[in-house]
Symmetry: C2
Subunit: 197 residues, 2 copies
């Protein structure tokens, strides 16, 4: 694809899509900025106008993936159903998405695991957004009387920590063989019961 | 230390202690079986009589560490105190131990993280033992009437998953900076309240 007729955000998107495709095909380590430039039919210098390094491309790809998770979470929370149902569904959907992305696609898994190990800024921002989505859902449930009155900081912290084993790339990869989906459903139920008090 | 006068288990212990010391000093990757043999003043062939490979030494060192965690957990559960207090203490102690071992000692951290990623048999056995210790504690609490009647499989699975973020080497390393100890205490309280029903 020639980039001459594209807007700046479109070129950025083109570079990211190409980089992601090469990472999946060849692995992250073996893909160079020159490879990405050649596939995009542009010069490496042009790539560097958009991303200062291969690490920056990596971080941007991770961000796209994490934004997808957040949009899924927001969609579940926006449904017109009891908060308890939404919390159960949220946990299961995030778990299913994590399994699909991290287990079927080892390059994506390695990318996200690396991002978490190295504590990139995108991960922190993602965790804050997910926590805020879960917090909003719990607050709604308390307001409607569905959940018992509680210290919101306290329950939000605990619920998010309890959900983590079902969404974290490393844990999902380690536990997958062990009926983890059933365990995710059980955790949803456990949390709902705890919140109902 | 000469090994001629030692029993077989003592020689095995000597090899493990020496290997662990070298792994900490030089790193796991840089330490060879020949290095360990030289430090033990024995031949590499003699090492191989006890451990078939460096990986087997690695697994045995991990097992020693995991046994230490299990003994700590058993000691807390054996205390003469309400089950709720023991559950809170168990979570905090396992978290503190994980922080001490995994954060101050990056070689130990890498060894355990590798063991978990690669799903060594020792990890599975350890998880089963910890789950069984927690299960026993919950069963006691239900029997004494301190915790509400519940499906033991269900609550044990959920409580163990909820404790995982505070004991897993990867999560502990990622979350440590973020007031994780306070979060561990909050989770202990959350679980006790959920179990009391």
């Amino acid at each position: 694809m020639r980039s001459a007729s594209l807007t700046q955000p479109e070129v950025r998107g083109q570079i990211l899509a190409t980089a992601e495709r090469l990472f999946r095909a060849w692995g992250y380590a073996k893909t160079t900025v020159a490879d990405i430039a050649r596939e995009c039919e542009m010069s490496p210098a042009n790539i560097y106008r958009f991303f200062e390094s291969k690490a920056a491309i990596n971080e941007a790809i991770t961000e796209v993936l994490l934004t997808e998770v957040e949009q899924k979470a927001e969609a579940v929370v926006a449904e017109q159903r009891p908060a308890a149902d939404r919390l159960r569904k949220l946990l299961l959907e995030m778990h299913t998405f994590s399994c699909e992305r991290f287990l079927k696609d080892t390059e994506v898994h390695e990318l996200c695991a690396k991002a978490m190990r190295e504590q990139w800024g995108v991960i922190d921002a993602h965790i804050r957004r997910i926590r805020s989505i879960v917090r909003g859902l719990i607050a709604e449930g308390i307001k409607s009387g569905e959940f018992a009155k509680a210290d919101l900081d306290f329950v939000e912290t605990c619920v998010n920590n309890a959900m983590l084993p079902f969404c974290h790339p490393q844990i999902v990869a380690e536990q997958f063989a062990k009926d983890h989906k059933r365990q995710a459903a059980a955790m949803g139920e456990f949390l709902v019961r705890a919140l109902k008090g």
